[in-house]
């Protein structure tokens, strides 16, 4: 038994089925723990009062939105380099969840901005980059949706993810640069509250919960994709009959 065994869709289908409950329960328990920290253990911030508790959603969501994009680019690169079908399926399975987290980061950013800065939206470097990241996700998902051919879709989407990943640091840098020139950037999301250890802990627990959730959801999605693509094989037929 080695790692390559699981690179075959048939084996991975079974493995993913076993892993999903673990990650789902893990995500649920961690989320409960994280929420407990966010609302009951973390003290009131002396500057931002209770509004800062949005940080426990906002920062993990922003982290996830970027991580998932990088993981997608990683799977895409592996798929293009080694021609492994499963990598492309993983990349596809991750995209909707990545877009969801990007949306959540934007939404919570707006709800945090209103009481803190008096505006729902400020063209802060982080929020703007996050918005552009959402555009990138939407573009990739739209490209996948437009291409019916599986092989072409896999590769085209991965190429787009890759050029996006090369571009993301440049976009972030340019937006930051643009931001400092235009408003002298006194606003910074991360600096605002002084970071207490318990807050960092809360954010980390929530971030791990988000990771577990993402893995669980991606595995469910990848199983569906596998079944669809392998429907002609005997093992897939057997699974369909037994389920």
């Amino acid at each position: 038994m080695n790692l390559y065994t699981y690179a075959s869709p048939a084996n991975f289908y079974v493995l993913a089925g076993k892993l999903i409950p673990w990650f789902s329960w893990g995500a649920g328990l961690l989320a409960v723990w994280g929420l407990y920290i966010s609302f009951f253990l973390a003290p009131t911030d002396f500057q931002q009062s209770e509004a800062y508790r949005i940080i426990f959603i906002h920062v993990p969501a922003a982290w996830m939105s970027m991580f998932i994009y990088l993981v997608m680019a990683f799977w895409g690169a592996i798929g293009l380099a080694f021609n492994t079908r499963l990598s492309f399926m993983m990349a596809r399975a991750l995209a909707p969840t990545g877009a969801l987290f990007t949306f959540i980061a934007l939404w919570t950013g707006a709800l945090w901005g209103k009481p803190m800065w008096g505006a729902w939206w400020v063209w802060d470097a982080r929020l703007t980059s996050e918005l552009i990241l959402l555009f990138l996700y939407v573009g990739i998902i739209a490209l996948w949706a437009a291409i019916d051919d599986v092989r072409r879709g896999d590769r085209a989407g991965s190429l787009l993810t890759l050029i996006g990943a090369i571009n993301v640091p440049i976009i972030y840098f340019s937006v930051k640069w643009w931001n400092t020139l235009h408003q002298g950037s006194s606003i910074n999301l991360m600096k605002a509250p002084s970071m207490a250890a318990i807050m960092l802990q809360g954010m980390l627990v929530m971030a791990i919960a988000a990771w577990f959730y993402t893995i669980a959801v991606a595995l469910v999605r990848v199983r569906r994709i596998i079944l669809e693509r392998e429907r002609q094989t005997d093992w897939a037929k057997a699974i369909l009959e037994n389920e």
Partner: protein
Amino acid sequence: MEWASWSDFWHMAGYGLYVWGSFGVTAAGVLIEVILLKRAGADTRRRLKRMQQWATSLEGEGQ
């Protein structure tokens, strides 16, 4: 414990709308994704099963 009462908890020192708006929409987003995923999974399995039955029935006629 930070909160004197439940109403204090929901009120969030006047920031309730923002805090619960954030957590609520996140919860809703996650819930919607899970529901859509379940439904899409069931749809795919049903469709594939139908295709398979159709294929086997064709084979049966052919013989």
